[in-house]
């Protein structure tokens, strides 16, 4: 009776191997169905994302189940055993629990602290539940993992602060403008980074982005893709006075936005704040503007250094998260150990309760002289006596089980109370 976890992730397996595995991403439920049929496996969770494959199972025969689960992963990826041996990791019991907690809390993710993985674990769990592939132990374990993930999220700053250039740009815009709804953004030039930043802005409440480009057709295409507006490149100067956020990424050799243009725009816009993101190399915006009042200028290096600092911060927070996870792992392992004595406790209780029931029936002949209240009081009295008597041995048994020393006591209780 063990919990085992077989898996591979972006750290252990190179992209080509993960690619082969993720082909089978879609038929997750079928995999669960297959694994469930194996007689050594009681409960199973199968998680497969682009960056990882994890099979978590509660098994009866550990060695046999391990071989079976490895084979499942092998056959899915169509991989040679040599390839697999390099990439696969296998964890047992406490280690498996810790690994699951780390995965759910996004400590094991490629971008540490990213929130998607928790959703993916939840989906995988839902699929397992639908196939009735989970039971007492995995249900408890996975719910515990959700709780750990929530604790890590609220008690550490691991998910705070943006760690991509475009989300950093959005975060900065919020620091300047607060709410982005009703703000206007202008994207000058094309390019993947500009498009990504524009998408992020739209996702954060900017109603419409205006695009401009020396080649008007390209601006038009981006505007169509992102439901934005366009403005002719010749009218750039006028456009500056109407917008609050400017993202510039043209291939121009010199500055396309200079001090005089911005000074004029600021006058027209009555000094409303202006946030300029210059992600072009060479730069599009005269760096002197970084010192202008009510103008905030960030270039690609500035954004990148914010990202780097945020990433460092996440790594520090991860240490706090590991402490939380260790403590939670211990708690789960205590529960698991207590679980071993549960059948004995249940047997003991039901035996005593049966005795009480039998005696109550026998006493029925004289108890019928009592009225309802009195009869009820007798029952309450008897039950409270047996509860008091059972309390100490049951607690003792649970305590011993947490130390892993319950077996002799279980044997004695079974023998003395004739529980078999």
């Amino acid at each position: 009776m063990d919990i085992i976890l077989v898996g591979m992730n972006h750290k252990t397996a190179p992209l080509e191997i993960r690619e082969k595995l993720s082909i089978s991403c879609d038929d997750d439920t079928a995999t669960v169905e297959t694994i469930k049929t194996n007689s050594h496996i009681n409960e199973v969770l199968y998680l497969s994302t682009c960056n990882r494959v994890e099979v978590l199972a509660h098994v009866t025969k550990t060695a046999a189940a391990e071989v079976y689960l490895k084979n499942i992963v092998f056959s899915h990826g169509n991989l040679s055993p040599e390839e697999m041996a390099r990439c696969l990791y296998i964890y047992h019991n406490d280690d498996a629990v810790r690994h699951l907690f780390r995965v759910a809390s996004s400590l094991d993710s490629m971008v540490m602290g990213e929130p998607q993985i928790l959703g993916q674990v939840k989906d995988a769990y839902r699929r397992s539940v639908e196939r009735e592939a989970t039971g007492v132990i995995l249900n408890k374990l996975i719910h515990h993992a959700f709780r750990v993930a929530k604790r890590v999220r609220t008690e550490t700053a691991i998910a705070n602060n943006a760690v991509s250039v475009s989300s950093t740009a959005v975060e900065l815009a919020k620091k300047i403008f607060g709410d982005l709804r009703g703000k206007r953004a202008l994207v000058i030039g094309a390019g993947e980074m500009a498009e990504l930043a524009a998408k992020h802005l739209i996702g954060n409440g900017i109603p419409k982005v205006i695009f401009t480009n020396r080649t008007y057709e390209r601006a038009l295409k981006m505007a169509n893709d992102l439901h934005g507006d366009t403005v002719s490149f010749d009218l750039l100067e006028e456009a500056l006075s109407d917008v609050d956020i400017i993202i510039s990424s043209t291939g121009a050799p010199g500055y396309i936005i200079d001090e005089a243009m911005i000074a004029a725009a600021l006058r027209r816009r009555k000094n409303r704040l202006l946030f300029i993101i210059d992600i072009a190399v060479p730069r599009d915006v005269d760096p002197v503007l970084g010192k202008a009042d009510n103008v905030y200028l960030y270039n690609i290096d500035n954004l990148q250094s914010v990202v780097d600092d945020n990433m460092k911060n996440r790594i520090n927070e991860a240490e706090k998260a590991e402490t939380i996870i260790d403590a939670e792992m211990l708690e789960f392992s205590r529960w698991l150990k207590r679980l071993q004595v549960v059948p004995t406790v249940v047997d003991l209780r039901s035996k005593v309760e049966n005795i009480v029931k039998g005696e109550m029936v026998r006493a029925g002949s004289w108890m019928k002289n009592l009225d309802d209240d009195e009869r009820e009081n007798v029952e309450i009295l008897v039950n409270s006596i047996i509860n008091k008597i059972l309390h100490d041995p049951v607690t003792g048994l649970k305590e011993e089980s947490e130390n892993g020393a319950a077996n002799p006591y279980v044997a004695v209780i079974k023998k003395l109370f004739k529980l078999d």
Partner: protein
Amino acid sequence: MGSLFFKIALGLYFLSMLGYITSLVVRKVQVAKVSTWILFSAFAVHTASIIFRWVETGHSPVTNLYESLSFIAWAVSGSYLIFQVKTKTRILGAFVSPVVLVMAITASARLMEDTPIPSILMSSWVPVHVLLTLTGSALFALACLSGIMYLVQDDLIRNKKAYGFSRLLPSLRELDRINNICLVAGFILITLGIIAGSIWARNVWGSHWQWDPKQIATLISWILYALLLHQRLAIGWKGRKAALLSIIAFVILLFTFVGVNIFFVTVHNFI
């Protein structure tokens, strides 16, 4: 009773300041929320103490420097609490609560002494004049605090240090808005307060305006604030310049409030 309530309020102000500062250190919104509730109860108890004082002494509770300080502390925390409800900028509390506490502690030194009141203060214009100017000053104090926070946040963003501490500060736009509202409201109250004062002055000194050092200093700060408002409303000043001027104007106002009495001979020698 007034004295007891004031002491309780003082303790609560202290607790709320500790809470706000803790919330800065541990970076938990929850702690700041609790601190806001403590500040609210401090404000309520303080209100009670002022009312009791009014009833116990039978005259308006703003007839000397200590009473006025206590009143300003009350007005500052009250105005802040209103902003708190409107804008959810709890972090401002970490700036406001120490200021309130320092004023309240200074006030506590001689607050409850029963000094005889000069007869010229017995006019019913006095409480009107004092309450208006002091509430106006409290709003200017908030404008100054939000201006300081604006400069800090502006500096952090400009120098690409927009992580860590900057996360705790409200956005620039929000701070500028608070600054603007406080200036407009404060200016209206101060102006009305000065008018009330001049009516009273005519009653006791015979003319509306005496060219007294206190009056001249008041006029200078009033002109500065008028200028600042003009730049804001007509010219469209925003952000850093406006924040800076609102800080300078408040320093001069502070001098008007306490400095004049120390360095000059003035007929306005009660506060």
